[in-house]
């Protein structure tokens, strides 16, 4: 660049730092894991905060709420709300378990994604999850989002009938 400040990272550095996984899944690492493997890891490393039945606790519920979004008490979970499973892989890897993030292996992560999807009824028992699966699985609320279309209120200042001159 024009300033010539800084250094150029190596390709290996970039690969190691670049952990964000978009819906195209191109950045997903190699690996795989089964729903059953995920179950075991979940019960050991996640259930304390999210509940043995993913019902939530200190951490949010990870299942349930399908069909609730238009109700008075919507429950937004991975199953009921999240549009992409790539987000699940990305988020667990970068953030969970809360106190020791970025410690799970890729195989463990695929397994956990599989288990959470299974408990949401999105994949059947026995499924082996890999990169292709994470990209291709159809999340129930995939079409539930549209681009911000605000402003959506059309309030008007009241110059005529209700704005009084300010007294000192």
């Amino acid at each position: 660049g024009a300033y010539g400040i800084g250094t150029r990272p190596t390709d290996a550095q970039i690969a190691a730092w670049n952990i964000d996984v978009a819906p195209d899944g191109k950045a997903l690492p190699p690996g795989r894991g089964t729903v059953e493997q995920g179950h075991a890891i979940y019960d050991r490393q996640c259930a304390a905060c999210h509940g043995l039945d993913l019902q939530g606790g200190m951490g949010p519920a990870l299942a349930g709420g399908v069909g609730s979004l238009a109700s008075e008490k919507p429950l937004k979970t991975v199953g009921s709300y999240w549009p992409y499973a790539t987000t699940l892989f990305d988020y667990i890897r970068r953030t969970m378990p809360l106190a020791s993030p970025q410690t799970l292996s890729s195989d463990e992560l695929y397994a956990l994604v599989g288990y959470v999807l299974f408990r949401n009824g999105i994949v059947p028992a026995g499924t082996t999850v890999d990169a292709a699966q994470v990209v291709n699985v159809r999340m129930p609320n995939r079409e539930g989002f549209y681009l911000d279309d605000r402003p959506d209120t059309k309030e008007r200042p009241c110059d005529e009938h209700c704005l009084r001159a300010t007294k000192k």
Binding site: G6, A22, A70, Y84, T87, Y146, R156, L163
Partner: protein, 395 residues
């Protein structure tokens, strides 16, 4: 002969010993000069940030600026609101790097000192959490509980545009994924257009280096966009052709509508204002002339005008903008308020330079229902009882 003989409308009797001719502090030498880093008066020790009442997760939690005790447009660094998802990391600035990579010609790794050698910019901007405040009861008791997840500072850093020009953008570049170095590795996708407009990579706040809880040593400032996008502890900028759909832009910070669908990429914080004095928990102590004071802001640009009503919204008066108006910054306003014991509901309504008018809560609910959670910029009423006690005016 001491006393307050002509006090008009005083509700409590004056204490004749309250103000001696030569106070003790005038008769004694004061404290020495040269405290390295100063602190507020002990008499102001109640002016602090607070967790929301009932909030029990101090790690992924938020604490509010005490708006009801503050004046003007700048928030002091010690009282700038906090919001973290995995606590405040203790970053060694010498070991911190910012990587810029992706759809760029030359990826770059920068130290904090490197970044300080790019052209620097200082600008005053607010940052506001998108969830400030909830659409649902219980309504906050104080201005902090109602809108304390907003603060404003002078930020110094480099224009993100400068850094993106330095790395050279690929023609397919459309988004920038920003990532923090905290244990949440907080991640948000920001449209390239905004990155090339007024987004900053900052290292200083109100003159000094960023506070740890504000992203030390580097944070993104995305003026007018929801607070969560102003990535703290910034370590990576990934230039891409599509958004990441990270958890904070899908599970969170999307706005659920009555039909069960949700708005995504709802970034802008719309125009808003709140009366901070008098406000909930304040107590008027005498009759006569008073001031209404508050703050107004807009993520779309400059505040153009603020109106206040002292009759529950039936009639309005133009307030005076009492501080210099900066774009996407808190603007202090004031209006005279003669009060002689009447029950009153007071409120303010801001209008920004785009002509957008701050809505009522019912207008927002009509457009969005009650479960959209984020981006509540409704008019806030305060009720003044005849004894001078001020409480939240929401029914």
């Amino acid at each position: 002969a001491a006393g307050e003989p002509t006090k008009t409308g005083a509700l409590a009797p004056a204490d004749p010993d309250a103000f001696p001719t030569v106070p003790t502090w005038t008769r004694q030498i004061g404290a020495p000069t040269g405290k390295g880093y100063g602190q507020p008066s002990p008499h102001e020790s109640a002016v602090t940030r607070r967790l929301y009442p009932g909030l029990t997760q101090p790690i992924t939690a938020y604490s509010t600026s005490p708006l009801q005790d503050l004046d003007g447009g700048i928030t002091p660094n010690g009282l700038f609101f906090e919001r973290h998802h995995a606590g405040v990391p203790a970053i060694d600035p010498g070991k911190h790097r910012l990587m810029i990579h992706g759809l760029v010609k030359e990826p770059l790794l920068l130290t904090v000192d490197d970044i300080r050698q790019f052209p620097s910019v200082s600008r005053i901007h607010f940052i506001e959490c998108a969830g400030n405040p909830s659409f649902l009861p219980p309504w906050g008791k104080t201005a902090a509980e109602v809108a304390g997840l907003v603060s404003c500072a002078e930020w110094t850093g480099v224009s993100l545009r400068t850094l993106l020009e330095e790395v050279g953008l690929h023609p397919d570049a459309k988004w920038v994924i920003a990532e923090g170095a905290d244990a949440a590795a907080m991640t948000r996708s920001i449209p390239l257009e905004k990155c090339l407009d007024d987004t900053l990579v900052v290292y200083s706040q109100n003159g000094e280096r960023l506070r740890p809880e504000q992203g030390y040593p580097l944070r993104l400032v995305v003026p007018g966009f929801e607070g969560n996008m102003n990535i703290k502890w910034l370590r990576r900028l990934h230039v891409t052709n599509a958004p990441a759909y990270s958890r904070e832009e899908t599970a969170k910070y999307t706005d659920l509508m009555p039909d069960g669908r949700a708005r995504k990429f709802s970034f802008v914080m719309e125009c808003k204002s709140i009366i901070t004095q008098p406000s909930g928990s304040h107590q008027l102590t005498r009759h006569g002339a008073h001031e209404i004071r508050g703050i107004a802001w807009s993520g779309m640009g400059k505040v153009e005008r603020v109106d206040v009503s002292v009759d529950g919204g039936a009639t309005w008066h133009k307030a005076e903008l009492q501080s210099t108006v900066h774009a996407k910054a808190l603007t202090a306003f004031r209006a005279p308020f003669p009060w002689n014991g009447e029950e009153r509901v007071i409120m303010s309504r801001a209008i920004d330079e785009t002509g957008y008018v701050q809505p009522t809560l019912s207008a927002l609910e009509a457009a969005r229902g009650k479960n959209s959670f984020y981006h509540n910029n409704a008019i806030q009423p305060w009720r003044i009882a005849s004894d001078g006690n001020v409480t939240n005016g929401r029914e």
